[in-house]
C-alpha cells in the first residue's frame, strides 16, 4: 500500500506543479490531499492501461474560487454521508466495485450472487445516491 500511495503522489506531481506558482507550501499539501484520494488511488490500482477522454474545449481548469471550493467540499461530505446511509448489501457492492478492483462478474463469482442481482443492487444504490444529491 505504501508503494502505491507514493506512486500516486508522484504521478500527481505534474498536476500540482502547474499550480505551484500561486500556492504556499501548506496550500500545496492541501491540494495534494484533495487530488490524491479521488482519481489517484484508482489510477494506481488499475491493472490495465486506461485510455483517457479528450479535454473539454475550455482547456485547463482555473483555480476554483473560495465559494466553489466550499461547495465542492460540502457536496463530497453529503455524498460520503449518503454512501454510509445505503443499505449494507448495496454499500458493500459499491465498495467492492471500486476498492476490490473487481468486475461485476468477478463479484458474482466470489459472492455466489447471480450477476443480475449484483447489477440491480448497484443500480438501486446509484439511484439512491443520485436522489440524495439532488
Amino acid at each position: 500500500m505504501r508503494n502505491i500511495l507514493e506512486q500516486i503522489i508522484h504521478t500527481k506531481h505534474e498536476e500540482l506543479a502547474v499550480r505551484k506558482a500561486q500556492c504556499s507550501l501548506n496550500e500545496l499539501i492541501e491540494i495534494a490531499n484533495k487530488v490524491t484520494p479521488k482519481g489517484g488511488f484508482i489510477d494506481a490500482l488499475r491493472k490495465q492501461r486506461r485510455p483517457e477522454p479528450e479535454d473539454l474545449p475550455w482547456g485547463p481548469e482555473a483555480e476554483p474560487d473560495q465559494a466553489e471550493a466550499i461547495g465542492l467540499k460540502q457536496e463530497t461530505e453529503q455524498l460520503a454521508f449518503a454512501i454510509k446511509e445505503l443499505p449494507e448489501k448495496q454499500r458493500i457492492l459499491i465498495e467492492q466495485a471500486y476498492f476490490g478492483d473487481l468486475s461485476h462478474s468477478e463479484i458474482a463469482e466470489i459472492t455466489g450472487l447471480p450477476l443480475g442481482t449484483i447489477k440491480s443492487r448497484i443500480r438501486l444504490a446509484l439511484e439512491r445516491l443520485r436522489h440524495a444529491m439532488k
Binding site: V18, R46, P53, S103
Partner: protein
C-alpha cells in the same frame, strides 16, 4: 468535437462505473474514452462515478508513506514544467484517445479488406478484449452475426441501422448474447465504427451473407 445534442445512444451505467473503477479491459476503456470525448452527458455521469469512487477510497484506506515521500515529491514539483499544458483535443474525425491508437486521423488507418468493400483494422490492446475499426461502404451490410459476449459499436462517421435502431456519429450500441443483428450502413455516406468485443463474433452462415450488401434501407 461536441455533438452532445445529437447523441441518442449512450453508455450504460455499468460500463461507465467499471471504467471509473478501472476494471474494464483496455479495448472497452478505449471505446468509453472515445465516446466520453464526444458526449458531455456521459462525461458528467462518469464524473459522478469518480466522485463516488473517491469517497469510497477516502473512507476505506489509510497508509503511512516513507518519511521522504513529501520531500521527494516536492523535488519533482520543483523540477517540473509549470506551464499549463495545451488541452488535448482532436480537430479531426477521430477523437484523441482513438488517434493515439491509430497513430493519426482517418488517413493514417491501415485498412485490411474483408471483401465486398468492408474493411477493418484491429487495434493493439491487451488480449482480454478486441478493438477494431470497421469501414462499411454506404448501403453495405456487416455480415449477420450473433455475440458470445458483449459487443459495443461506436459510430465515428456516417450512420448505420440494424434491427434495433438507427445509430449516427457518437451513438454507441451495446449488444449482448441474446442479440443477433445486421448493421447496414446508410446510403448517404460510408460508415466508420469502432467495435469492441470480449469474445469472437459468431457468424450465422459459413460464408457470411455479404450478398445483402445492396439492401435498400
Amino acid at each position: 468535437m461536441n455533438m452532445t445534442d445529437t447523441i441518442k445512444h449512450h453508455l450504460t451505467p455499468e460500463i461507465l462505473m467499471a471504467y471509473s473503477a478501472g476494471t474494464l479491459p483496455e479495448a472497452f476503456s478505449l471505446i468509453v474514452a472515445t465516446h466520453v470525448s464526444m458526449c458531455d452527458v456521459c462525461r458528467a455521469e462518469l464524473d459522478s462515478y469518480d466522485a463516488v469512487g473517491g469517497v469510497v477510497m477516502e473512507d476505506a484506506v489509510t497508509a503511512d508513506v516513507s518519511s521522504d515521500a513529501l520531500s521527494s515529491t516536492m523535488k519533482l514539483i520543483a523540477a517540473s514544467d509549470t506551464a499549463p499544458k495545451a488541452p488535448r483535443r482532436s480537430t479531426g474525425t477521430l477523437p484523441s484517445p482513438l488517434q493515439d491508437y491509430v497513430g493519426g486521423d482517418l488517413s493514417a488507418i491501415k485498412w485490411k479488406p474483408l471483401g465486398m468493400g468492408v474493411k477493418q483494422v484491429i487495434l493493439s490492446t491487451s488480449k482480454a478484449a478486441t478493438a477494431r475499426l470497421l469501414y462499411i461502404p454506404a448501403g453495405a451490410a456487416v455480415p449477420d452475426h450473433g455475440h458470445q459476449g458483449t459487443e459495443m459499436t461506436l459510430v465515428l462517421q456516417g450512420t448505420f441501422v440494424d434491427e434495433e435502431d438507427r445509430f449516427a456519429r457518437g451513438d454507441v450500441e451495446v449488444a449482448n448474447e441474446d442479440m443477433e443483428h445486421t448493421p447496414i450502413a446508410d446510403m448517404g455516406e460510408d460508415c466508420i465504427c469502432l467495435a469492441v468485443t470480449d469474445a469472437p463474433l459468431k457468424f450465422n452462415a459459413l460464408i457470411p451473407r455479404i450478398a445483402q450488401r445492396f439492401l435498400r434501407i
